[in-house]
Amino acid sequence: MKKSFIAFLRRNLAFSELAIVANLEYRFNFIIDAFVQPLITVGIEILLWLAIFKISENTMLGGFSKESYLAYGVWAPFLGRIAVSWMYESMMVEEVASGSINVILTRPISFYEYYLSQMMGYKFITTVLSLLAPFAVSLIYDLPVIYSRIPLALSLVFYYLFLIHTLSFVISTFAFFMTRVRALTLVKNLTLWLLAGELVPIDLMPPYLSKILLILPFSSGVYIPVAYLTGRVDAELISQGFLSTSISILIACAIGNWFWKKGLQEYTGTGA
């Protein structure tokens, strides 16, 4: 039992390393993905909040200052970038649709763990490198950020990634039946973008909607960790985030597992 657990760890660490090695092979793409893309999003968010404050001619909005929103605008895109898995989701869907999943199916590994570990490896390296930017911006402009809260906030985002990966797994199993699921992927990701609070902080939404969104697990990806980091909420909401994410992972795993089994019965090994 102990030996098989060590083998499991060794194997999954190797998948994480694979993601790091494979992505660092393409330096330009990596830099764009890790730095440029979130920097552009930060620029958009900051311009948006500056414009909103200028038009409103108020120093406070929803009980928070301009600096608080700027801090949100700096951190939300970076954490939001960690809390998505567009790249790995599209790879997973493509594997099923093209038949290249055959390579995984004929080896003693699971599709779920193979991509989970790869995604975690990639997220780890991009997080370490890309978080330097919001960290530096917050220090330079003295934005209201509680730095001691970074570890717990990041823990929630990484835990949330298990849910995101499980949802990607569910979507990829649909490819067994429908082959092309790109439109579904896009709709799902846009919905999560809104529900996570990356576009607009959840506390600015109508109270009844904000209550629902905080109960749902998706706010654990961006809003809760960023709000916690910028002092808008306390640790209680973090605990709630861990709980709702855990429940959702269990539900998504059950659904994914059911579709996976059904999908394999339908699968024709196309492409082999």
């Binding site: 083998a7 060794r10 194997r11 660490l13 190797a14 998948f15 694979l18 090695v21 494979a22 092979e25 393409y26 038949g99 290249s100 055959n102 390579v103 199916l105 004929t106 080896r107 003693p108 590994i109 394999l264 019965q265 699968y267 024709t268 090994g269 492409g271 082999a272």
Partner: protein, 312 residues
């Protein structure tokens, strides 16, 4: 006798959507789609012993790859039973997957973006192998295939022949007891084909895995397989040795000759027992300037066999 691979009345059907021509039918297909069911494999009963190389031959769409996919656990059979190394492949139990390997000549099994050596290190961890032992095995296999110099090159930058050698090493790294090779030499030049063919021959002699091999190059089958399975329209139409097949088929010799004042080289294909008769015919018909007798290409024999049976 305990068989490594056993199937009983194995069959697989595919359901295919029938798209009729035109935009209107595309719109109609939105809510009403017609499907047809096609049997890709029918009532296949088969036993393979350990250490045996079985050559699986048939035209495109005959059912070869479907059979390999079922045996390797990629797809479920629709009918019948199947057992490989005592496992039902479609259950994909890790213990089974650790003991078998699939090499699909038209698909990459290794990782495209990293070097072969990095891929092997990863495979060693997937199969839970001793890393030192795995490294030694890679070196031994690379020596046999004479490809040490490309082990550290990114896979995508290798030529097709070099890549196939890397794939072969990857498929053998965990010493599988059963190996499914689907077109392992497809697209390769003669030299690369011969190298891989020779390597497989030596490997099987030394390590005795059971192998099912499909190939469009009949030389692969003729030189490697000690048993031939002919498959056509999803059914087994021949099961025996390559030699038996050549003896029992009617076209097994070729007479190539040229008459005096004739620029055309003529060919006559006939059964071995008719040699004297055919020689007489040729000599009586004119003054022969050149004459040679050749074995008919294995490919031609199979093709004419299947054609005669109206199987292709």
């Amino acid at each position: 006798m305990k068989y490594v691979i056993e199937t009983q009345n194995l069959g697989r059907e595919y359901k295919t959507y029938q798209k009729k021509e035109g935009v209107l039918n595309s719109i109609k297909g939105f809510w009403n789609r017609e499907y047809t069911t096609k049997a890709a494999l029918k009532n296949t009963t088969l036993q393979v012993e350990s250490g045996q190389i079985v050559g699986l031959v048939g035209a495109n769409g005959a059912g070869k790859t479907t059979l390999l996919k079922i045996l390797s656990g990629l797809i479920y059979p629709t009918t019948g039973t199947v057992s490989v190394l005592g496992f039902e492949p479609w259950k994909r139990e890790p213990e089974y997957l650790r003991q078998m390997s699939v090499l699909l000549g038209q698909k990459n099994q290794l990782w495209w973006d990293i070097s072969a050596r990095d891929s092997y290190a990863l495979l060693a961890k997937i199969y839970d192998l001793d890393l030192i032992h795995a490294k030694k095995r890679v070196n031994d296999l690379a020596e046999m295939l004479n490809c040490h110099h490309v082990l550290d090159t990114q896979l995508r930058r290798l030529s097709l022949g070099e890549r196939m050698k890397m794939e072969v090493i990857g498929s053998l790294l965990h010493s599988p007891k059963v190996l499914f090779l689907d077109e392992p030499t497809i697209g390769l030049d003669i030299l690369a084909q011969t190298t891989i063919r020779d390597f497989l021959g030596r490997y099987v002699k030394e390590f005795k895995p059971a192998i099912i091999l499909t190939s469009h190059y009949m030389d692969d089958i003729a030189e490697l397989a000690d048993r031939l399975l002919l498959i056509s329209k999803g059914e087994m139409v021949y099961d025996g040795t390559v030699n038996q097949f050549l003896q029992t088929t009617e076209t097994s010799k070729k007479l190539i000759y040229r008459y005096k004042n004739d620029h055309i080289e003529r060919e006559l294909v006939f059964h071995s027992s008719e040699l004297s008769e055919k020689l007489n015919e040729v000599v009586k018909s004119g003054e022969v300037l050149e004459l040679k007798i050749e074995e008919v290409d294995f490919e031609e024999v199979i093709h004419s066999f299947l054609a005669k049976e109206s199987r292709i």
